[in-house]
């Protein structure tokens, strides 16, 4: 099975790879997946006035998982929390032309975005 050009591009040139300070109150961190399933995604957002000003990811997983999380960080940057919350895994599938066996990678990326937002909101609520 060959990878789509977009997946290869994100794999070769990952966008926003790295980490933000997970202890900062302005940063939300989402970690989803499990090592025994072969995919773990960490997605972090930095928020100012309800808007995501920065995002970073680190992913353990196949090329499609890496591409999905890379794309997710690219998309959420500049979005409001509500807008980011509305990103659907099917948007990711379409953009990256993921085959059916890789749909779970896009699901994980959507979950990672939501988990990061939740984490940020939980910190704010404290």
């Amino acid at each position: 099975m060959a990878y789509s050009d977009k997946v290869v591009d994100h794999f070769d040139n990952p966008r926003n790879m790295g980490s933000l300070d997970k202890n900062s109150t302005e940063v939300g961190t989402g970690i989803v997946g499990a090592p025994e399933c072969g995919d773990v995604m960490k997605l972090q957002i930095q928020v100012e006035d309800d808007r995501i000003v920065d995002a970073k990811f680190k992913t353990f997983g196949c090329g499609s998982a890496i591409a999905s999380s890379s794309l997710a960080t690219e998309w959420v940057k500049g979005m409001t929390l509500d807008e980011a919350h509305n990103i659907k895994n099917t948007d990711i599938v379409q953009e990256l032309a993921l085959p059916p066996v890789k749909i779970h990678c896009s699901v994980l990326a959507e979950e990672a975005i939501k988990a990061a937002i939740e984490d940020y909101q939980a910190k704010k609520a404290e």
């Binding site: 290869v8 990952p14 790879m17 773990v40 995604m41 680190k58 353990f60 998982a65 890496i66 059916p100």
Partner: protein, 408 residues
């Protein structure tokens, strides 16, 4: 098929299939275009020529495993040989007993026929393996019963390269008077196997694992002490002593014969060279921290290097070295995310299963290919560790096994 603009992809998947040796191809060609008769045709020279080709091939394969030519049955490949051995013996001796002993790390060509027999009422003992992939000989001995009609064990494991103690297994089977099938599809290109020294009653081999063509194989069936009988799976023209009917694949058989002859001649030199290259690659990988070799440290086929780069997922590791053809050690490309039954049987922890890839070296692997592939693999592993949240946690001293992972 080749395109000068695309870079060459280095082949490190010899335990999936080997390149057909050009000398084998050469030997086969006349049997397509000149000696194209049916080897069963006794009335003209086309048939006689084909039969001569078959006879020579039978001698060549017999020489490789130390059997008599007449004890060989040509088949459509390793899968058919294994199926014929398992079904053929089980059904032929069903009145004597319905118990089979096998291991947990068999190829599916053995495992799945045995599963089928289990559904049909046979009783099966699956011997577990230790973390290196070896069965316990005492457990084997204890597992054999009055009603055991077959012991089927793999010689060299195609996923991890572990070599069972096949001589000791053969001796136990002889002692107990049970038919022993050795699945020697992988490893016959570098390892010396003699059916008498190994106490083998049935032996499966496959053309495309020893630089011969695909779709051709052979099953050795012992004729004396004991005389092993098989129930055929297909019925027809009476070929191969009635155990495998159907017009013989003459060019394929000639190719298998030539491949066997080349292995006999070049096996020892190939073995030494391949082992040197494999060890060089392995040593370079081991310089990185958190790298584990799967399989037995020493009792392992020389071409096998199944390696886990902890915290790096195997499929992405392969994607990071697009000019190197290797196999995934796990089955993460399938929708089920099921690790292979072999890795599971070793007790490799579930997270490490997803980090394994298999290099398999062979006759045509060069020094330059090994060095380039090693370099690309290490570069890919390092890049992906920088990208791995698990590596980051490991470096922060977090115990990953203590984390409750969120998954559905």
């Amino acid at each position: 098929m080749s395109d000068s603009a695309t870079p060459r992809v280095f082949y490190f998947d010899n335990y999936a299939s080997t390149r057909t040796d050009p000398r084998v191809v050469e030997a086969m060609l006349p049997y397509f275009t000149e000696a194209y008769g049916n080897s069963n045709s006794r009335s003209h020279s086309y048939g006689w020529k084909a039969e001569e080709g078959i006879d020579q091939a039978r001698e060549q394969v017999a020489a490789l495993i130390g059997s008599k030519p007449a004890e060989l049955i040509f088949t459509s490949g390793g899968t058919e040989s294994c199926n014929l051995a398992v079904f053929g013996v089980a059904r032929m001796y069903a009145e004597k007993g319905k118990h089979i002993v096998t291991s947990a790390v068999e190829h599916r060509a053995v495992m799945d026929p045995i599963r089928q027999l289990e559904r049909e009422g046979w009783d099966v003992t699956y011997l577990p393996v230790d973390t290196t992939g070896l069965i316990d000989l005492a457990e084997l001995e204890a597992a054999i019963r009055e009603d055991t009609t077959l012991v089927s064990i793999i010689f060299g494991n195609n996923e991890i390269g572990t070599q069972q103690d096949s001589k000791a297994i053969g001796a136990i089977c002889k002692d107990k008077g049970v038919v022993f099938h050795l699945d020697a599809c992988t490893g016959l290109d570098t390892e010396a196997i003699n059916v008498d020294e190994h106490g083998v009653d049935l032996l499966s081999l496959s053309g495309h694992k020893i630089y011969g063509p695909k779709g051709i194989g052979a099953l050795y069936v012992r004729r004396r002490r004991p005389r092993v009988r098989l129930q055929p799976m297909m019925l027809g023209g009476g070929q191969e002593r009635g155990m495998r009917h159907g017009t013989l694949n003459v060019p394929g058989i000639v190719g298998l014969g030539k491949a066997a002859a080349l292995c006999l001649e070049e096996r020892d030199a190939d073995r030494a060279r391949i082992l040197g290259l494999r060890n060089r690659m392995e040593a370079a990988f081991m310089e990185l921290e958190e790298v584990y070799v799967n399989g037995h440290p020493t009792q392992r086929l020389p071409g096998a290097l199944n390696v886990s780069f902890n915290y790096v997922e195997g499929e992405s590791l392969m994607m990071g070295m697009p000019n190197v053809a290797v196999s995934s050690g796990s089955a993460c490309t399938s929708a089920t995310l099921e690790p292979s039954h072999v890795m599971r049987a070793l007790g490799v922890s579930e997270d490490l299963v997803h980090t394994s890839i298999r290099f398999s070296l062979g006759r045509f692997t060069t020094d330059e290919e090994v060095d380039t592939a090693t370099e690309q693999c290490l570069a890919s592993a390092q890049k992906l560790r920088d990208m791995s949240p698990l590596w980051e946690m490991f470096k922060e001293g977090i115990d990953l096994s203590a984390i409750e992972w969120k998954h559905d």
